[in-house]
Amino acid sequence: MTAMRKAIISDEELIVQYLNGNEACLKMIINRHKSKIYTSIYLLVRDTYLAEDIFQDTFVKVINTLKKGQYKEEGRFMQWVMRIARNLVIDHFRRVAKLPPITDSDGNDVFSGMSILEENREDEMIREQTTERVRSLIQELPEEQKEVLVLRHYGNLSFKDISELTGVSINTALGRMRYALINMRKLIEKYNLTL
């Protein structure tokens, strides 16, 4: 019954309750979206520690904006948070004045400490291998294709949102997504992977 009730509450309702002093609603909304947001951030920065920092900074900004009464994105909470996260990623790379590395070399082992659902060891190993393969393949995509794929698939942004966010036309965003999916398929075939 409680789970059903939780599933019914919209993001906007949670925000209203949160702003009325119910701090538990903040945790509910974070837990609802944390995987998609964190996965998106990680795929853009390819560093778990940095991804944790940016995830945290994103929600600090979310909280501060909400508490100042400046949230005006009714019905589009996730899109708003993803825009904040992406801007923080861009800010980071501007600060360090370098682009994300192209290869996926040393960062892989860092994920061994990632939180995963309770599973038996065999399931866990299969899951880790699959996750690793998908992650590696995504990193092989050209940057502009990878960005659209991350924002659309993991960030839940529409192609219109992505168009506005990245300054390209909707058709360009859509085309990049198509190429990203086709290239993912080619990479799967190239490496003869079974995912």
């Binding site: 944390k34 909280i63 508490k67 995504i138």
Partner: protein
């Protein structure tokens, strides 16, 4: 490069991500069901999309706790002024 009389791979991508009108949805679905070439193109894209779902990462619980603490702290500051 049309995959069907009127539908392209871009249309299939919009279809997969549910960015089509109800009318388009019905039309594209019908076309996929009746056109082998379009159906193969759809399945090929769909499989990749499903594989992307396998990648789901999460921040550490301590990161979430820090955020929650920040919120509680900022609430305290605001109400004490």
């Amino acid at each position: 490069m049309p995959m069907h009389e009127s539908y392209t791979e871009d249309d299939l991508v919009r279809f997969i991500y549910n960015e089509v009108s109800q009318k388009e949805y019905r039309e594209i679905k019908s076309a996929i069901e009746s056109d082998t070439e379009l159906s193969n193109a759809y399945l090929s894209l769909y499989k990749v999309v499903k594989q992307l779902d396998m990648l789901a990462m999460e921040p550490q619980s301590s990161t979430v706790e820090i955020i929650v603490e920040h919120s509680q702290h900022s609430s305290h500051l605001e109400t004490s002024i």
